[in-house]
């Protein structure tokens, strides 16, 4: 079964780029070919679902391949109600979006091959995240969605705001993704396994406090917090909700897919996934409740205030996501019909985005105040918009009403369970956001379609019928499930029966006269009144004040970091090359002595005892060589002319080569001597060209002042000597050489251990080294090439 699932998940990943290759050939027919890929995924997911589905319940099965065995990470996937639901939503929506974008991106857009490729990559990333069982695999795909969403949002990269939108989305989701990684790793450490299903089976029914000792609970809380931040970042919850409206710069099919059905749902998916683990941990429900309901309120109010067509939809999405996260906050009262809520949002938000796309496609402007009277031009879209709009508003007869109904009853239940008090805030927030939602959806329907055209200048061309089909299908789904909820509810309950262990209550349009119905009706009434009031004042007050928008703070933070970088940079870079060398060496010296004294003093001391130096094998020639070395290195400093310095330098080279011979290391001596000669040649050639006096540029600190050089050189010398002495300490390190010398003959069949190491044991390093050598030469040639070109112009 694993390979059908793998096909489903990885088919878009593999076939996506091929679309890129074949796009120039079949110009606008690429859409049809692109539609095949989501079909493959759908069929494979359905096949896997059927294989897993037995006697009315989805049996959670894991399947996987070996990936990194010694870290215990394997490429394993979990197929259960949650992943199947999300997988199907993602792939079906993918199919509809590809069909829709086939007409949206008419053939003038030459790089629609690129668009489809990114879309497919995104789809495979989503499927991978949704089905992932291993936490690390989950994160890998999670970040992959981040990257592909960056590519998709910034698709029309010539426009400035799409670039900033893409950047903002990427930075936010990326950073929160990092926190998520930290959380997941913490979880893996605590549970000593990175396999999700094992963790769940480990916990079983008992609460976390019983499994873990009290001092581990804070770590669990930290892991929970980090994972939640990751989820909130992805689903644009309260502190991070600024990136979603800015991501509207993406082409509309992308926002229809990413920002209604797929990417923003990842946060919710993660909450559902982590629910069995953290549900008994205190603080889980409260955070979800608070963050969810606050986001809902903010989203509702902001959507009421904004004018841009897609902006309105973006803020309604933010509020709806808050609604869903908040609903999970009520988890203690049993997870019922959560999939019903999510499906509701997918249907109406997807169709609304596509409707907006059609409007923009045919008129060209986004500002709602300029649009009007489109009903006559595109009646089908007008109908779709009304149904979807009403479902968003939650008017009876649509799916939205039922999900609101469930939410209201749950919130009221929560209130009297916890005995009022602070808990009254949640119904209040729900009331405000629902009211604003109703007003905005009515405005959206009325302004765009049924009022007379505002300014006649806009040329309206009639969209093709097939173009209006996908949103119509979605809104039909919303209407159908709204009128006959029980049929859909039955299937959905099987999906989530695996995890939630709660027998869901009966879904129906009408639950009889009770408090939730009254509350719902009052919301709808106030919504209509708000709409009428706003209509009378002709929506002049709209427009959100700059300080409320979080994105302004985000952008100013980014610029702040850039400025900081400039200042630090200007301090550090110096003009004279020697100073760079001085900085590097002084860094080594300082860091060595700091580390040396703080940690290693204990076993540094035997160096100075010197008793372990084998003095018996010392021959007086060693002393001669040592003194020669000392004298010639003093000559290097003492000599005035550079040429004499070189001569003294090569004398030291010869003596060091001699030293290696004294200690019976012919290979080393050979290498030392040859490198010495080659380096000498290079330096002499260069120096014969070097201008006599280097122009001394001004620098913040004059690194080459003799005092400074003195200190660094003494420090460096002392560092080197102590390093060597530490290395030759008999006790300090286990000698690795013994291993090589012992079996150089047996394994590598060569008695010269030095060479066998180079070529055989550590062949991989040598391969790396020679590649570095060649790359370095290319670098040098590069410098020389443009030096030759530039000397013609400026003879510096």
């Amino acid at each position: 079964m694993i390979n059908t699932l793998l096909i489903g998940i990885l088919a878009p990943l593999v076939l996506g780029p091929t679309l890129l290759l074949i796009s120039p050939k079949l110009k606008n027919k690429l859409g049809w070919v692109a539609m095949l890929i989501p079909l493959i995924s759908i069929t494979s997911i359905v096949k896997v679902a059927l294989s897993v589905y037995s006697h009315h319940a989805i049996k959670a099965t894991t399947m996987g391949l070996e990936w990194i065995p010694n870290l215990g990470i394997d490429f394993s996937f979990l197929v259960d109600g949650v992943s199947l639901f999300f997988g199907l939503v993602v792939s079906v929506m993918g199919l509809l979006v590809v069909l829709y974008s086939k007409y949206y991106l008419h053939e003038t857009v030459q790089d629609n091959g690129r668009f489809y490729c990114y879309l497919m990559l995104f789809m495979s990333a989503m499927l991978g995240t949704v089905f992932a069982n291993n936490l690390i695999v989950l994160l890998v795909f999670w970040e992959f969605t981040g990257i592909t969403s960056f590519l998709l949002i910034g698709f029309s990269h010539e426009k400035k705001e799409s670039r900033t939108g893409a950047l903002m989305a990427f930075v936010t989701t990326g950073l929160t993704g990092l926190l998520l990684l930290a959380g997941l790793i913490l979880l893996t450490i605590l549970f000593k396994t990175s396999d999700f299903s094992q963790i769940v089976s480990l916990i079983g029914e008992n609460s976390l406090t019983t499994i873990f000792s009290p001092n581990q609970i804070p770590y669990l809380k930290a892991a929970m917090a980090l994972i939640l931040i990751g989820a909130f970042g992805k689903s644009a919850q309260f502190p991070f909700q600024y990136w979603l409206p800015n991501a509207m710069a993406a082409p509309t099919p992308v926002s229809a897919y990413l920002h209604s059905a797929a990417m923003v749902k990842l946060g919710i998916f993660l909450t559902v996934r982590m629910y069995p683990i953290f549900k008994t941990l205190s603080g889980w429900n409260e955070t979800l409740l608070w963050v969810g309901f606050i986001t809902m309120a903010i989203g509702g109010v902001f959507s009421f205030l904004s004018n841009d067509l897609k902006g309105i939809l973006a803020y309604t999405t933010v509020s709806q996501l808050g609604f869903l996260i908040g609903f999970y906050g009520l988890g203690t009262l049993g997870l019922e019909h959560d999939f019903f809520q999510i499906l509701n949002h997918v249907f109406y938000k997807g169709s609304l985005f596509m409707v907006a796309g059609i409007i923009i496609h045919s008129i060209g402007t986004k500002d709602i105040r300029k649009i009007g009277g489109l009903a006559s031009v595109m009646p089908l879209t007008a109908l779709t918009a009304t149904i979807a709009g009403l479902s968003m508003a939650g008017i009876p007869g649509t799916m939205g009403f039922i999900s609101k109904e469930i939410m209201v009853s749950k919130v009221l239940e929560l209130v009297n369970v916890n005995g009022g008090g602070v808990y009254w805030i949640f119904p209040a927030l729900l009331f405000i956001s629902a009211m604003c939602l109703i007003a905005t959806s009515l405005r959206f329907i009325y302004h765009c379609f049924y009022r007379k055209t505002q300014d006649g200048s806009l040329s309206v061309h009639k969209p093709k019928l097939v173009f209006q089909l996908p949103p119509f299908i979605l809104s039909l789904g919303a209407l159908f499930l709204g009128l006959f909820p029980e049929s859909g509810g039955h299937i959905l309950n099987q999906l989530n029966s695996g995890i939630h262990h709660v027998s869901p209550s009966h879904l129906a349009i009408f639950h009889g006269f009770n408090e939730p119905l009254l509350f719902g009706m009052s919301i709808i009434a106030t919504g209509f009144i708000l709409f009428a009031v706003a209509q009378s004042v002709n929506w002049r007050f709209t427009g959100i004040h700059k300080v409320l928008l979080f994105e302004t703070h985000f952008l100013s933070m980014l610029n702040g970091i850039k400025l900081l970088g400039k200042q630090i940079g200007s301090k550090l870079n110096v003009d004279k090359q020697q100073n760079y060398l001085a900085i590097i060496i002084s860094f080594f010296v300082i860091s060595f002595w700091y580390i040396g004294f703080s940690t290693v003093t204990s076993n540094i001391l035997p160096i100075f005892s010197l008793e372990y130096l084998e003095t018996d094998t010392l021959h007086f020639v060693h002393l001669v060589a040592g003194s020669l070395l000392a004298i010639s290195s003093i000559c290097i400093i003492a000599a005035r002319k550079t040429i004499s310095k070189f001569i003294a330098l090569s004398v030291t080279g010869f003596t060091v080569g001699f030293y290696f011979m004294l200690y019976k290391a012919p290979d080393l001596a050979l290498t030392q001597m040859l490198i010495e000669a080659a380096a000498l040649v290079l330096v002499l050639i260069l120096f014969s060209k070097m201008p006599k006096t280097l122009k001394n540029q001004t620098d913040p600190i004059d690194y080459t002042s003799s005092g400074f050089k003195l200190i660094i050189s003494i420090g460096f010398g002392a560092m080197m000597t102590s390093l060597i002495l530490i290395a030759t300490l008999p006790s300090s390190f286990k000698h690795m050489g013994k291993y090589f010398i012992d079996n150089t003959l047996s394994l590598a069949k060569g008695s010269n251990a030095v060479n066998t190491i180079l070529v055989d044991f550590r062949g991989f390093d040598t391969m790396g080294e020679i590649t570095v050598l060649v790359v370095a030469t290319l670098g040098i040639l590069g410098m020389l090439m443009n030096k030759k070109k530039s000397t013609g112009a400026s003879d510096d």
Partner: protein
């Protein structure tokens, strides 16, 4: 400043060029058992090239070398990567060194192995790299008047 060329230097460098190259190949071949090896032989081979370049000028050495030294380095890389990846194709682990003990008619018992190929790659890379760098610097130095 008379740019007198020392004829003795030219003739001597021409003479010992061959001997040092032979010596470096000798160093290369015995590398596995006695001191030597690809890297050392590489530089030992590039020393006479430098000598020729300094005495007879870079153009003559380029003529002697016939092939551009960077391509030499590139072939060296191919050799090294070849010996690394070919075993994986044949089913052995990555970088697997095979020893062959054959009896060659003239030379008698021959113990040759894939490390020699790898070493040859290293040898070529080192020669190619050092000569390329030194020659390009020599070109820059000789081509322009004093800065």
């Amino acid at each position: 400043m008379t740019n007198t060329k020392s004829h003795i230097l030219e003739s001597v460098s021409r003479l010992i060029f061959l001997f040092i190259i032979i010596f470096s190949i000798y160093l290369f071949l015995k590398g596995h058992n006695q001191p030597g090896g690809g890297f050392i032989a590489g530089i030992a081979a590039s020393i006479p090239l430098f000598l020729l370049a300094m005495s007879l000028g870079v153009s003559t050495v380029k003529r002697v070398l016939k092939v551009d030294s960077l391509t030499l380095a590139a072939t060296g890389l191919i050799f090294a990567y070849g010996t690394a990846f070919v075993p994986t194709v044949l089913g052995y682990p990555f970088l697997f060194q095979k020893m062959i003990h054959t009896h060659v008619p003239i030379l008698g018992e021959l113990h040759i192995g894939t490390p020699v190929l790898f070493d040859l790659g290293v040898f070529m890379v080192v020669v190619g790299v050092s000569t390329k760098i030194i020659f390009s610097f020599l070109d820059v130095v000789n081509s322009k008047e004093k800065v």
